[in-house]
Symmetry: C2
Subunit: 313 residues, 2 copies
C-alpha cells in the first residue's frame, strides 16, 4: 500500500473497537482516539479495569455526542469473540465498527524445556488467537455488509526476530505478521485496510507480569532495551495508522528489524528503508553473535538450574 | 551459526526420526537418509502409506545393520506425539533420536471469509502444532539425557511472505520461523542444532489435496511457479542440513525471500546474501504490486462468488 496520494485516516466520528482497551497500549490508544473525536468501544477480561478505563475515556471526551462503552469478555475463544462483537454491534444499530484495533494479548516467557502443554497452547492463545478470532469475526461482518474500514493487529519486535525464552510468544507474533500480510492481500477484494503494529518493550502492567516468569538470561539480554511508555507506543501506532502504513513501528530498533525483514511486505519510503536495511545487514549479525555468546556463556549456570529442577539427569 | 569451520553433518549411523515420512518430502528425505547410511524411524497417520514407505526404505538399504521402523500416529496432539516418541525410543534402548526432521503437515487454502472456526484451528494444527509438539517432546528428552543432536523444522516460502488464500496456513509457517529462531538461540544452552527448511511448491500428494480447496485467484497467482519434486526438495533440504545452515531453501525464488527477510536470523554467505537482498529490495515490491493489481482486478468476480454463497448482503 503506497503512503502517497491518500488523505490521512481521521478517527473523528468513526466507531473504533479496541480489544485490550482496559490497560496498557489498548487504553492509551483509546484515549488518543477519544481525544481525536472517535466513538470508542473497549473490550477486555478485567471488570474493574474496564470501569476505571471508561472513566478515563469520559475525562477526555471532546463532544457530547461521542459514544463510549465497555464490554467484559475473554477473547481467547471464537464464541466469546462473536458474543462480544454482537453486543458491540447491538449498541450501534447492528453496524460493525469502522476500525478495529487488536491490542489484547500478553506473554509468559520461560525456558522451552520448562513449558507444559498448557503453557504452549495458552501462549499461542494470548499471542495469536486473541487477535485472530476478532479479526475473523469482524471481517466476516464487514464483508457481509460491504463495510470498508480497517483492522489493525498488534505484533511485537518479537514478530521480526526472537531470542531465548520466547518460544510460547514469538511464534504467535510471527504468525500475526503472516496473517496480516495474507489479509492485506486478500482484503484488497473488499477495500478493507489491514495494518500491523510492532511495538518494542512497553512499560505496562503486562510487562511487569511477564517479567515474573522471564528467565534471568532473557532479562539480562533485555537490560539495555530502551522501551516506551504505553502512551508513546500508542502515539507511534496511531501515526502509522493515519498514514496508512502496512507495517508500523514505534522505535528505531524495530524500524531496523522491519526494514531488514521486509521481503515483499510494503515498506515506508524506499531510500529510508534501503538505508535501514543496509544498516541492519551490517549490525544485526553482530548483535546476534553477541546474544549467542551471552547465551552460550550462561550454559553452565543453566545446567545447575535444570539439574536442581530435575529436568536433567 | 557460521557455516565455516564445521565438518558437514553425516547421516551415517545416526538415528533419524522423520515425521510425515510416509509420503512427499518426508518419504523422499527418508530415502536419502537411508541411502547415506542412517537408521530411520518414520511416523505418519496413514497406515497403508507407512507400509509402502517402509518397503521403499528397504529397497535402498545399504547395510544389514540399518534399522528402519514405521509408527502410525496422528501428531496433532501433544499426547499422541509423546506416545509416538516413547514407542520410537523403546525400539532404540530408550535413547532419543539423534536427529528429528519435521516433515508432517499440510495446507487447506480458502478465502478467510469462508473459513470456519474449525478450518482455522485445524489449519494451525497442520501448519504449526504438528511440528511444534514433536520439537517440544523430542527436545525435552534430548535435554534430560544431555543428547546433542539436531531438530529440523519445515516451513514454506509462505513462512517468508503470503498472499490471498493462505490465512490458515501462512500464520503457522511464519510461527515455525519464530519458533526455530527462538530455539536456535535457546538451544545454544544444550548444543542442540535447530534448522528450518523453507520449500517452495512441491508436486506431492499434499499439493494435489490443497489444490482442491484453493481459490481460483490463488491458483492463478501460482500458475507460473516453477515448483520442485519432493526428491528435488529433499536434496536441497539435506544439503542445507549437512552444511549447518539455519535457514535452508531449495530454490532461487525462496532464496531471494530468505535474504530479503533475514533480519537477525543467520544467513549463508555475506556477499551472496547482500546481492540477493538488493535484488529482493528491487524486485519484490514490483511483484507485490502485480499481485495486488491481480487481486483487485478479481474483486468483481469474487463479489458474485460471495453473493451466490450468501456471504454478502
Amino acid at each position: 500500500m503506497s503512503c502517497f496520494g491518500r488523505r490521512p485516516w481521521d478517527p473523528r466520528g468513526k466507531h473504533c473497537y479496541v480489544t485490550g482497551g482496559s490497560s496498557g497500549l489498548g487504553l492509551a490508544l483509546s484515549l488518543l482516539l477519544v481525544e481525536q473525536g472517535a466513538d470508542v468501544s473497549i473490550v477486555a477480561f478485567d471488570e474493574e479495569g474496564l470501569i476505571a478505563a471508561r472513566e478515563r475515556l469520559e475525562s477526555v471526551r471532546q463532544t457530547r455526542d461521542q459514544r463510549f462503552a465497555e464490554y467484559n469478555y475473554d477473547l481467547t475463544s471464537a464464541e466469546a469473540v462473536q458474543d462480544a462483537l454482537r453486543a458491540v454491534m447491538n449498541d450501534h444499530d447492528g453496524r460493525v465498527p469502522d476500525a478495529t484495533f487488536l491490542c489484547a494479548g500478553g506473554a509468559t516467557p520461560k525456558f522451552f524445556v520448562e513449558m507444559t502443554k498448557e503453557d504452549l497452547t495458552r501462549g499461542l492463545e494470548m499471542s495469536y488467537w486473541i487477535q485472530a478470532w476478532t479479526a475473523w469475526a469482524v471481517s466476516q461482518e464487514m464483508i457481509r455488509t460491504r463495510k470498508k474500514g480497517k483492522i489493525c493487529f498488534v505484533s511485537s519486535t518479537l514478530g521480526y526476530m526472537s531470542v531465548v525464552g520466547y518460544a510460547s510468544y514469538a511464534p504467535g507474533k510471527h504468525a500475526l505478521r503472516g496473517l496480516a500480510d495474507t489479509l492485506r492481500s486478500e482484503f484488497k477484494l473488499y477495500g478493507i485496510d489491514v495494518q500491523i503494529f510492532f511495538p518494542c518493550t512497553m512499560y505496562t502492567p503486562g510487562y511487569e507480569r511477564e517479567n515474573l516468569t522471564k528467565p534471568e538470561i532473557t532479562l539480562k539480554l533485555e537490560e539495555s532495551d530502551p522501551g516506551l511508555t504505553a502512551m508513546q507506543a500508542a502515539h507511534g501506532m496511531l501515526n502509522g495508522i493515519k498514514s496508512h502504513k502496512s507495517h508500523i513501528t514505534g522505535d528505531w530498533i524495530t524500524e531496523i528489524f522491519r526494514a531488514s525483514t521486509q521481503g515483499s511486505s510494503p515498506g515506508h519510503f524506499f531510500l529510508k528503508d534501503w538505508g535501514l536495511n543496509v544498516l541492519g545487514t551490517l549490525v544485526l549479525p553482530l548483535w546476534r553473535m553477541y546474544v549467542d555468546m551471552t547465551v552460550t556463556g550462561h550454559a553452565h549456570e543453566h545446567d545447575a538450574y535444570l539439574t536442581e529442577r530435575k529436568l536433567r539427569d
